[in-house]
Every structure is written in structure tokens, then in C-alpha cells.
């Protein structure tokens, strides 16, 4: 079974893959170790790879697989002083990067190897204009005059299809959208025409439609310049879309290496097979009940014409001058046992809707939970009604108080609502722990002692403690590795079968949504543009925005690689408006069987 693993080539003497093309970068026997409290630990072990000219090599793997450490080792940017290259060589042309000192390496970085990072906001300096940052990096590596450097910068920005490049030079990173910032990063990386571009999760922080564009841009630029790209990603869809060759890593070791078509069609290693099986795919939503909830007796929660506004203050006296229409007249209902997915891209108001339902932001309109309208209730009654609605947040690292034991955290909802004695509480928490797949002895531990998937299980146990009728899952699996994500989704489905809980499942990931939802509502700029059963929305999307969302998802199959992504002609407009200006309300039209689509 694992023949593919053991036959992995080691050492520089063995050329990898077909001999076509000159190799630009060769890594042989690379080991990276990190010093921790309990001695040194190898995070990359005996990694060898060859990168040919003009090739895209994807390094795929889950968190902790050592893929990012490999990238940092190539750039000689390993976190100091804890991490170091313990052995191996990194050959760029004639130079072994592992032997260079910092000064020599500075000349290589940017000039011959460039890198782009996951989060373009944090990798750009917020207090310098993008023009300044671009020209600085050009001037550092060339003898160009500042006027010539500026011309190069404009060229680079035009190459990444930023309109009005010249005036953009004066802008600061916060004035650009996430996709724009990532394009600026790519412009910066490619301005000096490096031999190798390392892209570490370049699209993970971006919305799916923007991701498509950025990937296409990378592909085009690579064709034009013949740059070799090492693309590091956890997303097998992106791998299928981009890679020529793939390396699958796990626990710091290469598990499998091969051409992209072979990896997807005939994975050799067990791990690769499992990884591919865990990837959510659109069109694989099997085993869900047929949407028979059309009659929907006794909804768990009903939202009617919900509005949430945030005031923006500005001017000398801090008066309200603009208003963000985060949620603008959203209405839907959720039946028991049902999963309603709320999808859309960042800033569309899906999380704000969830927060209003959970009582975290003030709202206008009606929220009816279990037949009782929250608007007419006093504080204590509202608290009692809200018991039926619990929430699981996106980031399991941030949503648990790091200074409390997890057992106490799970028991806390019971304590707050005065349910059960101390002894009973302990027993109930122990049962909950076992129900979500943890062991009861782990109750005494603190959140940081768990992995991401385990923490999300703790959050689920906590949400379950009050036996709610509705659980809001706000991007609850987005931060997890695909294999963990698949198991957490399975757990959520099991719990729904067992307790009849309804879910409001908020996500930007269409493939995940397709796998878990009964009904889907698509949001855009604070309003619902399309709503219907899963089959209606996915097999027959009617609104152009829904269509684009579905098309933009990279398909984890290299055979279905799209020639071009639909180009976004403009930035998504902001939902902030001047006072007195209200967005026009979309009218939803029923196309039959409850398939609602906004008509313009």
C-alpha cells in the first residue's frame, strides 16, 4: 500500500520526475528543527525536491505538516533563534542558500526568490504608501534611479491588473480591499522578475470569487515571465487548479510526490487518499433528507425584516456622518431538524445576522424564538428564551476563555441558568464530553492543551449544554484542516439526528454548505438575493451572484481545470452609506416550491 512512500527519492543525485526543463531550485535532505522546552524537534525531515523552470510545484498538507517551515527555510526566514536548518542543502543555481549569511541572503531575497504571504494586510507596512513600498524594494536590488524605479512599480501594478496604477501608488494598504492588497503583494514579488516565487497560502484569506482572480493572475504572470512557483496550500481545490506537480507533506515528511493528474487520479499513499476523500466537493451532498420541510410546522426561529446598522463617526465633533447597512431587511425562518445555510462573502452581513439572532448586536425588526417575539420581553424573559439559541464561533482558539478549565467552561451555561447541582453538572459535562468525542478526564485541562478540532468539539459541547433548539454555527469549521473539518461536520449531523437541533450554518465555503444544508440563503450587501432548498440553489442557481459564487469554487479535480475564471469587473461595493441614503430593497420572487430569487 505504501510503496509510493518508500520509493521516495532522497539526495540531490536522483533527479525527480521527467528530465524536461532545467532545474532552478534543488533541495536535498533538508531538515529543520525547532527548539522547544523539551529539546529539539524536527519539523521538516529529510525533504528533497527539484523545481524546474516555469513549473508550479504545490506543497499540500494540513497544519503542522511542515509546509510553511519549508518555505521559510528556503527564504532563510526561519523564526530566530528557535528554528534552524539542521542539515541538507538548498541549491539555487550554483549557490547553496543554507550556507549564506544574512547579508548575502538579503541580496537573493526579492531579487531571485520572492515570497507572498497569506495575509496581505499584515505583510504590507500600514504606514507607508504602496508606491513607496514598491519602489523601495526595487531600489534595494537594482541601480535604477528613483524615477525609473517608479516606472517599474507602475509597470508591475499594471501587470497585476490594477487600474489607474499611477494614482494607486499614493494609496495606503488599508485603502485597498483584500484582493487588491494581495495583487500589490504579487506585484512587489514579481517586480524584480525573480526565478522563484514562493506563495504561502496566497488566497486563503480571500473571498472565493477574489481567490479565483488572484489564482488566474498568478498563472498568467507565470506564463509570461517563466517564473517557477512553489505554491503552498491546504486547499486541494487550489492544488488541482494550479499545480504541475504536487508534494503531499505530513508531519514534516514528504508522503507522496507526483504529477498533479496522477496524485488526484491514482494517489499512492494512504494519507493522500484520505486527504482527498475528506475534501468537501460540490455535488457530493449525499445522505441528506429530501427537503420535506416545506410545510415547516412551528419554526424554531423566525427573522422578519431584520435591520442592523452601525453608525460611523467622523468629522471634528465625532458626529454620525455615515451608516453601515450591515443587514438590510433579512427575513427567514428555521424549522426544527433543519439546517439553513447562510452564504456570502466577507462583509455581506451574514455574521451580523447571526450576532443579532444571538443577542450580541442591537437590531430593528422582529426576532421570534420558539413563538415568542424578543422585542416585547423583559430582560430575564429574554435570557430564558435565548437559552434555546446557542452559538459556535469561527475560531475555537479565540472563543474559549484561555484561563478557565474546559470542564468549567462547558459547565458554565448550566451554572448561569441555575440548572442542576454541582455534582449533576459534573456528570452532565462528562456525558457531553463523551458525546462530542472527548474523554471525561480532559475536563481538568485548559483550552491551549487541545488541538483546533478538539477545541471546536469543546465549543460544541458548550453549545449543547443547555439543550438548545437552534445552534448558530458561524464559520465554525472554516479554521479547521479538511480531515478535522469532515469529522466535525459528521458530529454536527449526528447531533442533529439525535437531538433534533436546527442549525443556522454560516459559511463562505460553498462545498461545505452543499454537504450540510437543507436550505440555503445567499446574502449580498446585507440582503438575501436567493433562497431555496439545497437542490434548488445548487442545481438551478438563478441569481447571477449565486452563479458566480458556485463557479468560483476551485474543483478538486485537475481534469476539470477551468480555462479562465470569470473576471470581476469591479470591487464589491461597500455597504456604508451617507445618512439618509437607504439602499434599495430587493424584492424576492417565488419561482415555485419556495425558491426565492431577487428580481431587479
Amino acid at each position: 500500500m505504501s510503496a509510493g512512500v518508500t520509493s521516495r527519492p532522497t539526495g540531490a543525485a536522483t533527479p525527480v520526475g521527467s528530465p524536461a526543463g532545467r532545474s532552478v531550485l534543488e533541495i536535498a535532505g533538508l531538515c529543520v528543527s525547532v527548539r522547544g522546552e523539551d529539546g529539539e524537534r524536527e519539523v521538516v525531515s529529510d525533504l528533497s525536491l527539484t523545481l524546474k523552470r516555469g513549473e508550479t510545484l504545490c506543497i499540500a498538507g494540513e497544519s503542522g505538516s511542515g509546509k510553511s517551515m519549508t518555505a521559510l527555510a528556503i527564504m532563510q526566514l526561519l523564526p530566530q533563534p528557535a528554528a534552524r536548518i539542521s542539515s541538507g542543502m538548498i541549491q539555487l543555481g550554483e549557490i547553496d542558500l543554507a550556507t549564506l549569511n544574512e547579508r548575502q541572503m538579503q541580496r537573493i531575497r526579492g531579487d531571485r526568490i520572492a515570497m507572498i504571504f497569506q495575509e496581505p494586510m499584515t505583510s504590507l507596512n500600514p504606514v507607508l504608501s504602496i508606491g513607496r513600498q514598491l519602489t523601495e524594494s526595487i531600489e534595494a536590488h537594482t541601480n535604477l534611479s528613483s524615477a525609473e524605479a517608479r516606472r517599474r512599480a507602475i509597470e508591475a501594478l499594471t501587470a497585476v491588473r490594477i487600474s489607474e496604477a499611477e494614482s494607486r501608488l499614493k494609496q495606503f494598504p488599508h485603502e485597498l480591499s483584500g484582493g487588491m492588497r494581495q495583487r500589490v503583494m504579487i506585484a512587489m514579488a514579481l517586480a524584480l522578475k525573480p526565478d522563484v516565487l514562493i506563495a504561502d497560502e496566497p488566497t486563503t484569506a480571500l473571498d472565493v470569487t477574489v481567490q479565483g482572480e488572484v489564482l488566474e493572475l498568478l498563472r498568467d504572470l507565470q506564463r509570461e515571465h517563466g517564473t517557477s512557483v512553489i505554491l503552498i496550500t491546504h486547499d486541494m481545490g487550489v492544488v488541482a487548479e494550479m499545480a504541475d506537480r504536487v508534494i503531499v507533506m505530513r508531519h514534516g515528511r514528504m508522503v507522496e510526490e507526483g504529477k498533479v493528474a496522477d496524485i488526484f487520479a491514482r494517489p499512492q499513499a494512504d494519507y493522500t487518499r484520505e486527504l482527498l476523500a475528506a475534501v468537501p466537493r460540490i455535488g457530493a451532498g449525499v445522505g441528506r433528507r429530501k427537503s420535506a420541510e416545506a410545510e415547516r410546522p412551528g419554526s424554531v426561529a423566525v427573522l422578519n425584516d431584520l435591520h442592523v446598522h452601525f453608525d460611523l463617526r467622523g468629522g471634528f465633533f465625532g458626529q454620525v456622518n455615515r451608516r453601515v447597512h450591515a443587514v438590510e431587511g433579512v427575513s427567514f425562518s428555521i424549522a426544527p431538524h433543519e439546517t439553513l445555510a447562510l452564504v456570502g462573502e466577507s462583509g455581506c452581513g451574514k455574521s451580523t445576522t447571526a450576532k443579532a439572532l444571538a443577542g450580541l448586536v442591537p437590531y430593528q425588526g422582529d426576532i421570534v424564538i420558539g413563538g415568542r417575539n424578543l422585542a416585547g420581553l423583559g430582560r430575564d424573559e429574554r435570557k430564558a428564551v435565548r437559552r434555546d439559541v446557542q452559538m459556535i464561533f469561527q475560531d475555537p482558539y479565540a472563543s474559549l476563555d484561555p484561563r478557565m478549565r474546559v470542564g468549567d467552561l462547558v459547565a458554565e451555561p448550566l451554572l448561569i441558568h441555575g440548572i442542576a447541582s454541582k455534582q449533576e453538572r459534573r456528570e452532565r459535562v462528562a456525558t457531553l464530553f463523551e458525546r462530542v468525542g472527548l474523554s471525561a478526564d480532559q475536563m481538568e485541562l485548559y483550552p491551549h492543551e487541545f488541538s483546533g478540532g478538539q477545541r471546536q468539539r469543546i465549543c460544541i459541547a458548550r453549545a449543547l449544554a443547555l439543550r438548545p433548539k437552534l445552534i448558530i454555527a458561524d464559520e465554525s469549521v472554516s479554521a479547521l484542516d479538511v480531515s478535522v473539518q469532515a469529522r466535525v461536520l459528521d458530529l454536527l449531523k449526528e447531533l442533529q439526528r439525535e437531538f433534533g437541533i436546527a442549525y443556522l450554518f454560516i459559511s463562505h465555503d460553498m462545498a461545505v454548505v452543499e454537504n450540510i444544508s437543507d436550505r440555503v440563503a445567499v446574502m449580498y450587501l446585507g440582503q438575501i438575493v436567493e433562497m431555496g432548498t439545497r437542490d434548488q440553489v445548487f442545481s438551478n442557481p438563478r441569481h447571477p451572484y449565486t452563479k458566480r459564487l458556485i463557479e468560483a469554487v476551485p474543483v478538486p479535480d485537475p481534469a476539470k481545470r477551468r480555462p479562465r475564471f470569470a473576471r470581476l469587473d469591479q470591487e464589491i461595493p461597500s455597504s456604508a452609506r451617507k445618512i439618509g441614503e437607504t439602499p434599495s430593497k430587493l424584492v424576492l420572487q417565488d419561482l415555485g416550491n419556495g425558491h426565492l430569487v431577487a428580481v431587479s
Binding site: 523539551d38 464561533f393 479565540a398 484561563r403 478557565m404 451555561p413 474523554s439 478526564d441
Partner: protein, 302 residues
Amino acid sequence: MTNPIAPDLPATGRMPIKPRAGVWRRLVKRPLALLGLVIIAIVVAGALLAPWLTGYDPNEQMFDGLTLEGAPLPPDAKFWLGTDLLGRDLLTRILYGARTSLIIGIVANGVALLIGTLVGVAAGYYRGWIGSALMRFTDLMMAFPALLLAICLAAVLQPSLWIVAMAIALVNWVQTARVIYTETSSLSEREFIDAERTIGAGAPRILFRHILPHLLPTIIVWGTLGISTTVLLEATLSYLGIGVQPPTASWGNIIFENQTYFQAAPWLVFFPGAAILALALAFNLIGDALRDILDPTQRGRA
């Protein structure tokens, strides 16, 4: 289940139950913290047992305490740490002065810390007009010279040790309040506070169970830093004649009384100065250790 890939079980490798060993037991296991405890124990014992530790009266001006020219005596076998300008035994004065300085350092500083924390937490959690009002008041207090304020307070109220302690507390809380305010407002934006609200937690629970524990490190650091500040502020007030009234000894006023003779009789400044330094250091060492011990994320990391 379908995908038993990397089992998402052991994150750290060890999962046994770790009962929280007593804070005290873990404190004394750290050599530096133990050193701090020993220093504080010595100072407290010295203050309490002063009458038995020394044969002199702290305020007695001895005839053999000065040279024939009237200069203070350097340390010798009779006066271990020498004598001061008026021929009083320095060791005795430092021992008795420890009483004053401990009360100032602990009580005044403790009250300042308490006020600062309450104001800071309230302003940081209840933003809106309550928070604005509290913070503007804090800014006002900050802008006002602390010394002037303390002088006013001490002058209006009859000077005594406790009044001085209160005056110091009333000017010293502002910095703490500022720092705590900033931390509280960023803490209350954290997601786990939102998570608490969704399970129905009210303000008292969120403040005491979820925000205060995170502020402990800051409070401890400010508390230990404040000890030397308050001891010295008391000395300044004594020097200006509104602190602890002479001839009552405090470490601060020993230094101020004798500072002009620093070159002729350096021991007069050196010994009380060293005492202040040792006390502040001791609290710092304990504070550092406490911060680590009380932070669960500092333990059991892989």
C-alpha cells in the same frame, strides 16, 4: 466515521489530570520567588521586632553618636550602620522606619491599585458615557501634578501616617486606571467574551470570572512597581514637611534628611536606599513568579 486521518486527539501528548497544586507550594519552589519572600520576611520581622533587635531608641540623639566636630559616625562595632546628622543610630532608625515604609508601600499602594482597577475596568467595559466620564476624570487627575495634589490633601487633613497613605493612594491610582482601561476595552472585544454573552452570562460574571483574571498580570506588575514609587513619594512628602512627621523615621525621610551630606557620609543614603531597593525587588520577584503561576497557558505547553 469515514475519515480516520490524523486523529485529532493528542495535541500535547500528555493528557493526565493535573490538579492545581497550591499557588504557595509552587511559589516556594521557585528560587527567585523564595528569595523575594525571604527578603520580605526579614523586613517584616525587622519592623515588628525592632525594639528587641536594637538597644537604642530611634529618636535618641546620643552624645557619642557624633564626632567631636559634630559629624556623623561611619559604621563601626558600636553603631553597625553608623549614625546620622543628629547622632541617632542609623540601624535603629531603618528598623523602625520599615514600619512606616511597609504601611505606605502596601496599604497606600494597595488602595491605589484597587481604585485604579475599579475605575479602569468599569470604564473599559461600560463604554459610552460612564466610560467617557470616568476616563476624562482620570485624564484630569493625570494632568494635575501629583505632588501638588498630595500636598493639598496632606495639608488639608492633619498629617498622620494613615492620612499620608490615603493621600498617596488618591494620586497614584491614575496610571493603573489608564493601563487597566486599555486592556479591558481590548479584552471585551475578544471573541470569548461574545461567547459568554451568548450563553447568557451577565456583566458581573463576565467582569469577575472572565476579564479580571486576564488583568492579573498587569495588576501584579503595576502593584510591584508601585511599591518603590509610593515609598519615595512618601519620602518627598516628608521632606516637604507634610509626610510622616519627624522625628518618626521612614526610609524615605532618612534619605531626604541626609542627602545633602551624601559626599561626607554616603552610608546615610546608601543603607536606607538599599532597603527600599531590596523591598521593591522582593515584590517584583514575587510578582513575576505569581504572574507565571497564575497563567495556565504558561504550563503544559508542548
